[in-house]
Symmetry: C2
């Protein structure tokens, strides 16, 4: 097992009716900015529940954070915060709203002279010395943002999508009520399931450093997702299935399965480029990249893939490489079975065009990713040309 440091101070309130407990954790003297996205919270009742829970609070609003939250939009919220002397941020919505809120929290306290995207995002949070406190009501099981210190922020001007991390942006309290996901559009449910699946793979499917507990936890998460996904798609109001999927999403990226293991994140980093260049949804981009990346990186990943084949898909195949290839096929089958397409052509994108674009960008940036740092622009080209 590798050495590690773990820290996760977010309080989580999980279950039916938990939004009503918001006021237990927010001081009444704070001036709050409630941040949300495109307004779906006004249709599904969450907005009303939050307003009721915080009756009597000094509550301002900022709506319009987009999927793949944009730096340019976030900076408008920062302006409002400074003008109104806001003390506390409340994100109400999915992972994009919360990621945007994390950036806003840090940017509002940034006192340097650089462009905040350069200072906060491009340095992976190194310049974040303070941030406004954050609470959230998370409405989409996907990013795990509700229990981690990361956020992914896009910049329109340069067509970029990059992550940053800082302990200062851990939410103080996150509220997860699975029943608010009953009304999610099916596409978002599917995207979230794939996102969770791939988060888990990025932390599990590398090379072995003797971490049997962490491995079984990751594989247990994948097994649970595969078992519960068809239930939520068949009956969107199945509370327990919704709860299980949501808790998988949160645990898929709260770092509990990541301690002491070797991580990859290259499926995400290549997927981000597909989103940045072609506007393909995040979950869709991952489903496209993962199978081809696993096959391309079989040498370093085959031991874990063979273990996955046995534990998750009950594949009895003693040849490690054969088992690994069967596992990759089964994963793609699972994605397809829940209605997730896995080819660039499904989105009218030429795979060679994508391969060229990403290759150029990676080579220009000097990108070298993957758990052994061997995925550069040329390897990304090989992966994407088969997507």
């Amino acid at each position: 097992m590798n050495n590690f440091e773990f820290y996760g101070p977010t309080r989580v309130l999980f279950g039916k009716g938990m939004i009503s407990k918001l006021s237990d954790y927010i001081d009444k003297n704070q001036k709050i900015l409630m941040i949300y996205g495109g307004g779906s919270i006004k249709k599904n009742g969450v907005y009303d529940q939050v307003k009721k829970a915080l009756e009597g609070y000094n509550l301002l609003e900022f709506g319009g954070i987009e999927p793949n939250p944009k730096y340019e939009t976030c900076m408008k919220a920062v302006e409002l915060i400074k003008k109104e002397n806001i003390d506390f941020l409340l994100s109400v919505g999915g992972g994009s709203t919360l990621d945007g809120t994390k950036f806003i929290a840090a940017a509002a306290k940034y006192t340097g002279n650089e462009d905040p995207y350069d200072a906060i995002v491009r340095t992976d949070g190194k310049n974040v010395v303070d941030a406004l406190p954050i609470a959230d009501v998370i409405t989409l099981p996907a990013t795990g943002s509700e229990m981690n210190n990361g956020a992914v922020i896009s910049k329109l001007e340069t067509n970029e999508k990059l992550p940053f991390h800082s302990e200062k942006v851990f939410p103080k309290v996150s509220i997860i009520d699975p029943s608010v996901t009953f009304s999610l559009p099916e596409k978002q449910t599917i995207n979230g399931i794939v996102d969770t699946f791939v988060h888990t793979m990025e932390q599990y499917c590398t090379y072995d450093v003797n971490t049997p507990l962490q491995d079984l936890w990751s594989l247990g998460l994948l097994r649970t997702l595969i078992q519960e996904a068809p239930k939520v798609l068949k009956n969107p109001q199945d509370y327990d299935a919704r709860a299980n999927v949501f808790w998988c999403a949160t645990c898929g990226l709260n770092c509990w399965i990541a301690q002491g293991v070797v991580e990859d994140w290259s499926t995400h980093l290549i997927g981000h480029e597909l989103t940045a260049f072609y506007g393909i949804d995040h979950g869709q981009s991952l489903a496209i990249v993962l199978p081809r990346l696993l096959k391309n990186q079989l040498e370093t990943k085959k031991q874990k893939l063979a273990k996955l084949a046995k534990e998750v898909f009950n594949i009895q195949e003693s040849d490690e490489e054969k088992a690994a290839i069967l596992a990759i096929e089964k994963i793609e089958e699972f994605f397809n079975s829940i209605g997730m397409k896995t080819k660039l052509s499904d989105y009218n994108v030429e795979s060679l065009d994508a391969a060229e674009k990403v290759k150029d960008r990676f080579l220009k940036r000097g990108t070298k990713i993957g758990e052994k740092g061997i995925i550069d622009g040329n390897v990304a080209y090989d992966i994407l040309k088969n997507c």
Copy 2:
């Protein structure tokens, strides 16, 4: 899944050499009391590592916290703290030292007029409004105290052993270096493995409320323990096996597997009485009680036991009750296989004497435990008479 609230703010530094990082997390202006047990830390080099890491700090010492830490001993530390105006507590040792430190941290800040055992322990921490900050170097994989808010404190005067909980006593930082366990006496290693196993059972083996992820995590923990225990016993200096056992112990009681499930804790509560009356080690007491309690409570536990039979012991038996009974036998076999005895007679205790004593005490207290609240003095008698 049941509703739940999760909070776990402890920072964990895990791995070889991590003790040297202590000073990163303790302010140099603090006056520190280092609390330890019987002095084993002076033989295994941990004391020296801590002193070196905190060179230049204002560091006082209090040794002599016993296994099953005593209220009477802890109160002597509280006296010293008040006299010396201590700001910060550093526990160096096993779970008993850390549990004692948690009580000391709360008692040092208790300002009421009651006896602190009554005020803090008997109320399960309800009167704890403040506590001194705690860091720890944990040297024994067993109690999980390094990442939770609980402690078990014994009172000599009344022959009692009771738990308390408070968010105020979460350690700020816990340091786990598995290599400090290389020199543990075999008996302590075995006790710790059984303690971890039973912690997991208390959170897993109840009735089902549709929590597949939590179940697979608990079962993964049991599988890992069963796989790694023989390795540490065969080669006490196997770093990876020691690391895996320690991470299991920490995760066995940091509440990660407990969210949304129904818990029992009756094996512990009955076991505590065996320790209080006969001085039987904590781990030993659990190994004695668990198999008989599971058999006695088969009706409510058989579904989870049958799942355990299949996942952990690969038992292919379609009859749920038969599978459950086989699982109980396998658990006792595992305990015996690592050198843990499982009968009261192995410790020269008459089972009827123990059954009578615990029955009387439970009936007097009105104790009703177990996940359905049906284990009272009479049921405890039935369990113990077969131990």
